[in-house]
Each structure stands twice: as C-alpha cells, then as structure tokens.
C-alpha cells in the first residue's frame, strides 16, 4: 500500500486562504481522519491529495516522491465523495466492473475481483440489481466497492456517511472500519462528525480555518486537547470550560470566588493568574454534601438517556454539564455540590492553549 506526506500545503481561492500551511502524514495502512467544522479546509486538502486541486504552495508526497505534477488519473487513488453517483442504467455488477474496463485484466480476473469485493462488502445478493432498487446503505457500499475494485493505493473518503440516516451511519461506520482493517488500506477520511472521527481513526487531524490544530490518536485528542477549540470539537457535550483564578496552589471560580485545591500535578506549575479550567462532563461529580473541593451549584436541566444522565448545572452563573449514572437522583432546582475528577482536570491559558503538566 502507500504512505502519504503532506508538506506545508497552501491553497487560496481568490483572497480566501483555504489552507495555510498544513502538514501531516498518513502511514501505511493507517486510517487518518481530518475533522473540523464546515469551511475548515478538509475537503480542499483531500482534493489536493487526489490531484483535483492544484496547491499554491507545499507538496504532496506519495511513498517519498513528490506527486504535485502527477495528473489525478495516474495517482492510483480512489476518491469517494459525499455525492456518490452510480450509473443508473447499469446493474451493480456492471457498475463494479466499469473501472476495470480499460485495464489489461482478463474477464476471469475481472470476475474474480468483483466477486471478492462483493464478498467483503456483503453485496453479493445485489449484483444483478439496478441502483434505483438499492437502499441508501446498499448504494453506499456499492460506491465504496467501485472505488476498491481497482485495488487503489489509497482511499480518499469525503463524508461518505453524511447523507445516511443515523442507524445506518452507525452500522456503516463499523463496517467501513472493519473493511479497512481487513483490506489493510491506507485511508484519509474527512468528516465534521466527531463520533465518526473518534470511532474509526488510528489518528485524527483537527483543522479549523485552514490551520492545523492538533494531530493525535482519538484518545490523545479527547484527553489532552491542544486548545479550547479542539476541546469543543471533540466530545458531546463539549468539555466544560470554566474561567478561574489561580493563587497559592488553589483555584477559584472567577464569578463567585468559591475555591478548591489545585490538582496535585499542577501544584507549583501554574504561576498566579487567570486560566481556563477544562473538565469533561463525565469527570464532573455530583455530591449532595459539602466537603473539601466541593463547589456549590444548582441543577438546571436533567436529560435522561436510559444508560446515562446529562445534568446541566449552574455554577456561579456559569453553565457546567455533568454526565452521570442514571442512578444519581437529583431534581431541577436542587442545590448540590460538584467536584472535578482531580487527574482529569486540564488547564488552558487565557488564549486557550493547553498547559502540559
């Protein structure tokens, strides 16, 4: 398979800088996801790799060789976009065969290849059907099959699940991931859906407004977001961000002065001053009685999901969310105390950059 190196990629559309020096790599057989909001530059990056856009600066390397000048047709990459079109007048079989028409393969070889791909994608029963007789999920699999049939070196997938309903998306993200593992294909995947990014990727590249924000495994990005922007993109609900004042190894909530002891690993690390404390909803504990490090708060809204509850909490006029067990019984308006899980608390400086402990 293949390895891709993206080096200081720059792309402008008129006055707009779509990519402002993006660099990262995708290793052999790796599944890398570009995650970011609309307009982040994800699709532009993908199209530069595919050769569908010409970068204004920087280079794309395939297995160590600069491919900037190579036309898309010679890059041996499969590009699947959000708007997938199958030939409506051809059966699934013919749709899968089409990319092989101009190859030197014998008919038997083509047939073997299509049968193999159909087996991997579980679409054998559909081979004689026409696209109009397929469900959204079936169509999606055929499109991916058509991309796979040429045995490309690299898969470029642009939001391939975004037009599907929630249940199907859930199923297909698992199938796509399993498929990629079985086939061992280098994959660069684009999505704005953090759950897809978290669940499918070996590594995630977070970008925003053409700028790289962070590269890391899903666990790294979730646990140590490089900045408050990343912290808000990964995880639903987002990480809670609370402005605090740090003094004498204590932090106090800026809006009401209630204070708690600084987590031990930050002791003597943070000079006195203003910071932003970040804590994931599942690391906010609700307690009913005061104790050291318990902050007084009030329950605003409770959302019960069966397997968990999300509790919206007023902490000194700040909104904080806790993800708790369904067994925790609280009522709207109830006065409670909250504690932050000590080793899960993060601190960001006033500009939003993570302070590494």
């Amino acid at each position: 398979m293949a390895e891709i190196n993206i080096i200081s990629l720059v792309k402008r559309f008129g006055d707009i800088v779509a990519l402002n020096g993006i660099s990262f790599n995708v290793k052999h057989d790796e599944f890398v996801t570009m995650l970011g909001p609309t307009g982040a530059g994800k699709t532009t990056t993908l199209r530069c790799v595919a050769g569908l856009e010409k970068p204004d600066g920087g280079e794309v390397h395939l297995d160590g060789a600069n491919i900037n000048a190579l036309p898309p047709g010679q890059r041996n990459m499969a590009y699947v976009s959000q708007h997938y079109a199958l030939y409506p007048h051809m059966t699934v079989y013919r749709n899968l065969q089409f990319p092989l028409d101009k190859t030197a393969l014998t008919n038997d070889e083509k047939k073997a290849r299509i049968t193999e791909i159909a087996g991997i994608l579980h679409i054998e029963p559909l081979l004689q059907r026409y696209p109009s007789k397929l469900s959204g999920g079936e169509m999606q699999r055929v499109v991916i099959g058509r991309a796979m049939v040429r045995s490309p070196q690299l898969f470029l997938l642009d939001e391939p699940l975004s037009n599907l309903d929630a249940k199907l998306r859930e199923e297909l993200r698992f199938e796509l991931k399993r498929l990629q593992k079985e086939a061992g294909a280098t994959t660069l995947f684009v999505t704005h859906d953090q759950i897809e990014a978290m669940s499918m990727s070996d590594r995630v590249v977070v970008i925003n407004k053409g700028e790289l924000q962070q590269i890391g495994t899903p666990a790294e990005i979730y646990s140590y977001p490089a900045n408050t922007l990343v912290s808000s993109i990964v995880g639903t609900p987002a990480m809670n961000i609370v402005p605090v004042l740090v003094e004498n190894n204590q932090f106090s909530i800026l809006s009401n002065g209630h204070h708690a002891v600084l987590p031990s690993k930050y002791m003597n690390l943070l000079p006195a001053g203003k910071y932003q404390l970040g804590v994931r909803p599942e690391d906010v504990k609700i307690v009913l009685e005061t104790s050291a490090n318990a902050l007084p708060a009030e329950v605003l809204v409770i959302e019960a999901f069966g397997y968990e509850k999300l509790v919206d909490i007023d902490l000194a006029s700040l909104r904080v969310r806790a993800r708790v067990s369904p067994r925790i019984q609280v009522k709207v308006g109830e006065k409670i105390f909250i504690q932050f899980e000590e080793h899960k608390v993060r601190f960001f400086d006033v500009n939003g950059t993570l302070i590494r402990s």
Partner: protein, 364 residues
C-alpha cells in the same frame, strides 16, 4: 395553556395513508415529542394540529373543543417549522417582534420580551442583522425566537434545531427545555433524532408508516419498548437483537448460529412473561449494549465470542464482538479494552433481557 387531543385522526394523500388512526392525549403544560424516521407521518400530524392540513377522519380537540373547522390563526398556537420563512426586509429583532406588534403590544413590553427570548437563544448580538446576513443556524434561532416570544396555548415545532451544529444543538435543547419548564406551555415537537427526544420530552410518541407505535416517558420507551421498531429506533448503539426459539421443557432459548445451536437458559425473572409462550415459539431476544457484560474467563451462562473491533468515543467504549455470524455490541466505560481476536465470554444482565415475538414484532 391547553390540553390537546387527537381522536382517531386519519390523513390521506391519494392512496397513501400518511396518518393512520392516531389517538393521542397531550396534557396541559406537557412537552410531547413526535419521533420517527422520515415519512412516518409526524410532520403531517403536527400540521393537522396546527390546522394547516385538513384531516380526513377524526377530531382535533383543544381544551375539549373540536377545532377541525377552526382556521390556523384562530387556534392560538405558535409554529416554528423547518422551512422558516423570515421576513427578508426586517431585522432579526423586528422579525421576532412581529407577532407582538400585530397584537398592539406597547414598545416597552415588546423590547423586554424580545430581549428575554433573544438572551435565552443567544442571538442578541445579531438582532440588527437582516436574514440574508445570517447563517442557517442563526436564521433557525430567529424563527424559534419568533415562535417563542408569544405566550400562546400551544407551541408546535418541527425540527427547530436541525440546522444547528452539534454543540449548539446540545446547548439549545437544554435551553428550550428549561424555557418550557418555566413557562409551562403545552408543546408538540417533531424530530427524527432520538437523542433530542430522549433529552427533552416529558413523553415521546413514536410513529412509523403513519401508525403510532408507542407513547411513553423517555425512560419507559427506552426500558420497555413496545415492539421491535421502537427497540431499534431508540438508543444508540441500537439494542442487540438475537433470533431464537423458545424451548418449553428447559425454559430456555435456542439460538441458532452457523455451526451449532446455543442454549440460553432464561433467568427466573423472565418466567412470568414467558408463561404465554409455547414450545418452538419464534422469538427475538433484545438486550441493550450496556446490559451485556464482558468476561475474559468462561462464566456460567456466558457465550464465547471473539473480539472484533473497538470504537473508543472518549466518554465510553463501544465493543463489537461476535460468535460466528452473531454480532453483539457492548457499551462499557472507557477503561475497558481488549485486543482484536481475543476470546471473550459475554453474559446478559437479567434485568436487561427483553423478548419479542418474531412474527408480530411485539414485546412479550
């Protein structure tokens, strides 16, 4: 504030029955969510309540008065639909104020009402802009504010959060819910998003193909789904479904897989519900991902599986395991990890086991 009733409501479009004999009572002050996939009839039901569709059969009743023949404007309801039509020549503020101006309310009162709802929906900073200068999400919030600035008998809302990005949607749903708890205005809300429905509703009415499937609190529909459709639609990842046959003599389930038949002895707490079953009854065993336990050693009642794939979501781990063609999805805390191909044994929490009739799909 009002009580809304639907009595045997039918709406047809040509040969298609969009709403099929729906009976529903929405209590005064209740937040009821109509939930279902696209085409299930939820929007048509909402539009029938609004008076924007004339029903073919049945009655729409508000506070014990049949309103079938009342015009929409005489029903004292505020709508917020997916296709929000804002007045293009008016600023966001004036769009929101519009329903109040038509009521001849004084300016001071209008200012304070619009500001209040604007603050709750976090759109005060865009008050001076016209719709063409607003993002889709902002337009949607302005439309929502325009509906909520009034205090009508009933709010009717059709996917009012669908154009917002994920984080804002989470914020807005909590905000809307809080607003509704405060003002106690009866609300009928349509969505296809089960998470939204679980988060916001007092009760959820789940529809499919025009037919009401179940009405209940979020907890009821999650814990005791009335049929396979509801069981599958509510919850993410979905409930696991395992085809099986009842064996009366041993009070157990036979689970056919590719190579062999697994025997699963039903726990005692299922005995009562299974009394109506006969030998060979075709069933589906349903179990939620969080009600499956994973063991690394053989356990009694355990099914041997091999580990397929992890989806680590940060706040939780979703594990895919399989026994032949039988796949099972398990939800655990993020601390639990296994390696691909590893042999595992899964067991089912007795309280989490649900049985469905395979032919009718109904819960047993």
């Amino acid at each position: 504030m009002a009580k809304v009733e639907l009595r045997n409501v039918v709406k047809r479009y040509g040969q298609t029955v969009a709403v099929d004999h729906v009976n529903l009572e929405i209590d005064d002050g209740e937040f009821l969510i109509l939930l279902g996939p696209s085409g299930c009839g939820k929007t048509t039901t909402l539009r029938s309540i609004a008076g924007l569709e004339a029903v073919d059969e049945g009655e729409i009743v508000i506070d014990d008065v049949v309103v079938n023949n009342k015009r929409p404007s005489d029903r004292d309801m505020a709508f917020c639909f997916q296709q929000y039509a804002l007045y293009p020549h008016l600023t966001a503020f004036e769009n929101i104020a519009f329903p109040l101006r038509t009521q001849q309310m004084n300016n001071q009162e209008i200012d304070s009402r619009v500001t209040e709802v604007g603050r709750l929906l976090q759109i005060e900073d865009i008050f001076k802009r016209k719709p063409s200068k607003l993002s889709a999400g902002d337009q949607q919030r302005v439309a929502l504010a325009r509906a909520m600035v009034r205090q009508p008998k009933v709010y009717l809302m059709d996917e009012p959060l669908s154009n917002l990005d994920a984080q804002l949607r989470v914020d807005m749903r909590a905000e809307l819910r809080r607003l509704q708890i405060t003002n106690q205005i009866t609300t009928v809300y349509v969505t296809h998003d089960q998470v939204e429905a679980m988060a916001m509703a007092d009760r959820i009415a789940i529809m499919n193909l025009g037919v009401l499937q179940q009405v209940g609190t979020p907890d009821e529909v999650y814990t005791y789904p009335a049929n396979l459709f509801v069981a599958n639609f509510i919850g993410s990842p979905s409930m696991n479904f395992i085809n099986c046959n009842f064996q009366a003599s041993t009070h157990s389930l036979q689970i056919p897989t590719n190579s062999e038949t697994l025997i699963f002895r039903l726990p005692d707490n299922i005995k009562q519900v299974s009394t109506g079953l006969h030998d060979g009854s075709e069933l589906v065993l349903g179990i939620r991902p969080e009600d499956i336990d994973i063991h690394t050693e053989p356990v009694e009642e355990g099914i041997e599986c091999s580990y397929i794939l992890l989806e680590a979501l940060g706040s939780e781990n979703i594990h895919h395991t399989g026994h032949g063609e039988l796949n099972m999805v398990v939800r655990t805390s993020p601390a639990d990890t296994y390696s691909e191909g590893q042999s595992l044994w899964v067991s089912f929490e007795h309280d989490g086991i649900r049985l469905f009739d395979r032919n009718s799909g109904m819960a047993i």
